[in-house]
């Protein structure tokens, strides 16, 4: 019974727009960005800014990073061009029939720390994940003029509504760990590390 009451409660809040309005209010100062991100876009971002991102991005997590790195080391052509790219640390849930996307959300970025430098050297412009990263990685982002965004974790169904299209792009044998191409629209992000040394995890 409590479950039902709770659902009705939230549904009511949603129908009356209370929740969404509140979320929208807090996003009043949203910075609208389109991929591919340009240097001038990144220049104006500050840690803590709320960004609404649209356009094409690619996913990659642990296993895909490993493959990309060995391809870079061996000088093999990469399946996805890294230069100017935005990479989302993500393993989506499968897309149900008739839906644009399955659930979407960031995985812990710190696990990708050891893979980040070669990608930044290749020209990676932005990464999307969750959680703080090592100090060394933060400095690397700074050095290469790249930005680190965080997306809210654990709200996969909510974020799926911001995805217009998703399909595997490379390393399909890795299943959920493959590289996916995503077309996102108004995807909510928060700037965690800007290129001026700002760090949201130290602001508080």
């Amino acid at each position: 019974m409590t479950i039902i009451l709770n659902r009705i409660n939230i549904l009511f809040l949603l129908k009356t727009g209370t929740i969404s309005e509140k979320i929208m209010e807090s996003f009043a100062k949203t910075i609208v960005l389109k991929t591919p991100l340009k240097s001038c876009d990144i220049q104006k971002l500050k840690a803590g800014d709320i960004v609404s991102l649209s356009g094409r991005i690619f996913s990659a997590r642990d296993a895909a990073h490993k493959k990309i790195l060995s391809a870079i080391a061996e000088g093999i052509k990469l399946p996805v061009e890294i230069k100017g790219q935005t990479i989302f640390y993500l393993g989506p849930s499968p897309t149900p029939p008739g839906k644009a996307s399955g659930s979407i959300g960031p995985t812990t970025s710190a696990r990708m720390d050891e893979f980040t430098e070669p990608l930044l050297k290749e020209g990676l412009k932005a990464a999307i994940g969750k959680g703080a990263r090592s100090e060394k990685t933060r400095v690397l982002f700074l050095k290469h003029g790249a930005v680190y965004f965080v997306a809210c974790g654990g709200i996969g169904a909510y974020l799926a509504q911001k995805v217009e299209k998703i399909k595997p792009a490379a390393y399909k044998d890795l299943g959920p760990e493959a590289i996916y191409m995503l077309e996102v629209k108004d995807f909510p992000l928060i700037v965690a590390y800007d290129i001026h040394g700002g760090d949201i995890f130290k602001q508080k």
Binding site: L14, S93, T108, C152, G156
Partner: protein, 332 residues
Amino acid sequence: MRNIKVLQVKNTLKSLLIDASFKIPADIIDAVKSFRQLEGNTRAASILDMILENSVIAVDQRLPLCQDCGTVYVDIGLGPDVYIDSGPYPDTMQNTETTGLDYQGLSGFQVLHPRSDMQEKYQAEKYQAEKYQTGKYCFPKEEINKTVAEVYKNNYLRTSIVSDPFFARRNTGNNTPAIINVDLKKSPGLSIDVSLKGGGSENCSWLFMLNPSTEKDAIINMVLKLVKENASKACPPIIVGIGMGSTASEVLKLARKAVFRNLDMANPDKRYQALEKEILASVNKTGVGPQGLGGNTTALACNIEFAPCHMATLPFAVMFGCHSTRRASFTL
């Protein structure tokens, strides 16, 4: 005797898995809501709103609450009256004289002596396995895994389990094996508890073998240090699960039990209850906040599960659960 067929277990498990994947437990929603009222940080408040909105969208759109559909834990509690019928399957049950555990070599409290009895045990196991292969019995553990595989495939849930931890790390493609634990319990019936745990929060698990003379402040500071350094990776607001006592191997299970304990269920021991409250209050003063981006809502709860331990030890385990701590239970 309560005769429970494996098919019944499978069907219950199926609905529990679906329930857990798409619906946030009511107690967690209540906790998020009440913390939302008290949250002074706008960004933190909007994240809590998104968490609430996500719980509605997940049900409406039938999309999993989180893209990480987790490791499946299935905890089975066997009451004293339960007899698991793993006989002819699925439901062509006929009169058979077999008992659930028709284990000839090991009945009662017979003490196992090395060699000869081990040999006997081995023979008995081999005999059982052969019987199973002839299709006369089903193996409940395997049936549970089959159910997990079926649910993950049919409901478009992400499969996150890899075959071996170090070499191939190939996705098993059906999210099995599940972590299955069977325990004997006092109350009647067969209880099934399903818990889904994401990888990000699972990485935030620690075991400490403390000195039994460790003071309370030291314990609290230890937990605070873990929270400050790691909580942002575990999707806060987190649930701080703490296991105390028992042994090194068991205390981690206690910590996991603590993570998945219903938030409405208070610790029956007043001393531990007070400690839980104290830890929760200090964790929420760290300023880590939802998603680690600042705010007062770093943890929704701190649960402690404890057990007696050896006089020389104080096993202490900490495990974080994410805000999307998914669970469902039923007793047959």
